[in-house]
Symmetry: C2
Subunit: 317 residues, 2 copies
């Protein structure tokens, strides 16, 4: 028996449940630390019609499964792929047509639990010099690194980040440490302070000219952000969409054609890169932590995470 944080379609509750039973390709993981992500909040508002145990950012220890994994500290990729469909065979298992997603879709219960399971092939060992708390950031940091995989960034032109929150801060750091001239577009003094600490330029929206950015990364998480992103990017520039909008954006798409903008949707990324950056201490994640809660206080943590300006909240067993 252990605790698990469940969304039942109407609210978030903490329940007791049996230790999950494993398939042959799965491992049982004991939670060390989990992180609250904006996607968790979206799920509790009905996104993906998910019901079950929430949570997909975690660091844990394998307690049952293949011998070589038992006792290892691990993080895990969230897409559980079939390995059979055309997209898996194309080498894009994160887009598997039959995938479940840990704590997000396909009835695959998540990591906000004392013990939970995940397919072994999704596990990554945490380097010895990376703490559990740092490792919790591997999943969103990998998503930030995906921008480097998808877009040819050039250090000659400013990259704007709109929505410098939990994910936007990681995107800013990843591109800054890659030598790019990053500008975070801020709305709170707290964002200015954090970006300054990392040597990243912060500007208020009204200080930033339209149609000048070579790349604009949208981490706003709301549909209204899209129109502003299109205003900021220069002709022939690139927009990276990191936000899943729950509404329909009211944006004039003819601008995409006339200005020949490229819009690139960007989701999960390479864990090995994220773990390497953490191991080499190139990303400061500790400054982004705004609080720790016990699993039994998860509803309070989720409520606080929904407040503007709150960065990473952690959950402990």
């Amino acid at each position: 028996m252990g605790q698990a944080v469940v969304f039942d379609g109407t609210g978030v509750r903490v329940i007791g449940r049996e230790t999950p039973s494993l398939q042959l390709d799965e491992a049982l993981i004991q939670l060390k630390v989990a992180g609250v992500c904006s996607t968790d909040l979206a799920l509790t508002r009905g996104y993906m019609n998910f019901e079950g145990v929430l949570g997909h950012e975690f660091a844990g220890e394998v307690v049952q499964g293949p011998e070589e994994w038992v006792g290892q500290r691990v993080v895990g990729e969230i897409n559980i792929a079939c390995g059979q469909c055309d997209l898996c065979r194309m080498g894009i298992p994160t887009q598997c047509r039959n995938r479940s997603t840990l704590g997000i879709s396909g009835n695959y219960d998540g990591a906000f639990a004392d013990e939970f399971k995940l397919v072994v092939r999704n596990l990554h060992r945490i380097p010895d010099n990376v703490t559990d708390i740092e490792a919790v950031f591997a999943e969103p940091l990998a998503a930030a690194c995906e921008i480097l995989q998808q877009v040819h960034l050039r250090p000659t032109e400013p990259i704007y980040i709109l929505g410098v929150g939990r994910l936007g801060m990681l995107c800013a750091q990843v591109m800054h440490q890659a030598g790019m001239p990053v500008i975070g577009i801020v709305r709170h003094d707290r964002q200015v302070e954090l970006l300054a600490k990392w040597g990243i330029e912060a500007r208020w929206r009204e200080e930033v000219p339209n149609a000048r950015a070579g790349v604009v990364v949208d981490c706003t998480g709301n549909a209204a952000g899209f129109e502003d992103v299109l205003a900021l990017v220069r002709p022939r520039g690139t927009v990276v969409l990191k936000s899943t909008y729950e509404g329909i954006p009211q944006a004039n798409l003819s601008k995409i054609v006339v200005n020949e903008i490229a819009v690139v949707g960007s989701r999960c990324g390479p864990f090995d890169v994220a773990l390497r950056l953490l191991s080499q201490k190139q990303i400061d994640v500790l400054s982004m932590i705004d609080g720790e809660y016990s699993l039994s206080d998860a509803p309070a943590a989720l409520a606080r995470a929904a407040q503007g300006g709150v960065l990473k909240l952690l959950l402990r067993p």
Copy 2:
């Protein structure tokens, strides 16, 4: 004195006007043939708030200007660039921040006239084995070729073209002759016949599965097309937008993020490539001609071009 087809903000009229006076960098061109484009129709509905002489697809002969150009048969690029701004200096004069566009914007009168002017640096000689009528297609054919410049097409996956009309037919031919498995999504028997003539597969929308195309080219010209384009493209696929929408599309953009779609706006293209393909007889443009009108009948030609399924209409002095 000569004739010119003018849009005055409310309607299309044919007027008499003086021979245009030239700047030092301009040539005077005698029209041989012009083509009616969907953009001309959009302009007469208020797009770009343009008023002046319409027309940007032409073949003509230089009658005044630099000695080496006089007597040459020419086509011309439509963007009149400043050569000074950041985008010109980046080598993207088609996106010049201070540009005028022939018969489209910036008070630069167009080619639906017995005589008209254009900057010399925009002119391209028509190869001897390309007729005037064929050369009229250089401008839209260049726009079709731009897809090859912008997107890495791979011959392993179907490319769908939605909106197989004046521009879509050229896109289909360009990608087909490049060895790609092109499928035109048709709405009229006429489209089936033309595509069959070129060996290009035609399918009705209901025969085409969703989420399977590696690339979808949107030439529909209307906002409703965008949602269908997002339905057709596979995860990690690419959407090429060739349509300038006059409305706001009601599409769920979160699909772009979750499925990691790339959306690429695409406008003008390389004239040298278009002229080479025409010279090498790799593109059949003659089958796309649906009628010839005199300049004085331009209003009737524009009205007919607005009817569904009508392909290229030509104007003669």
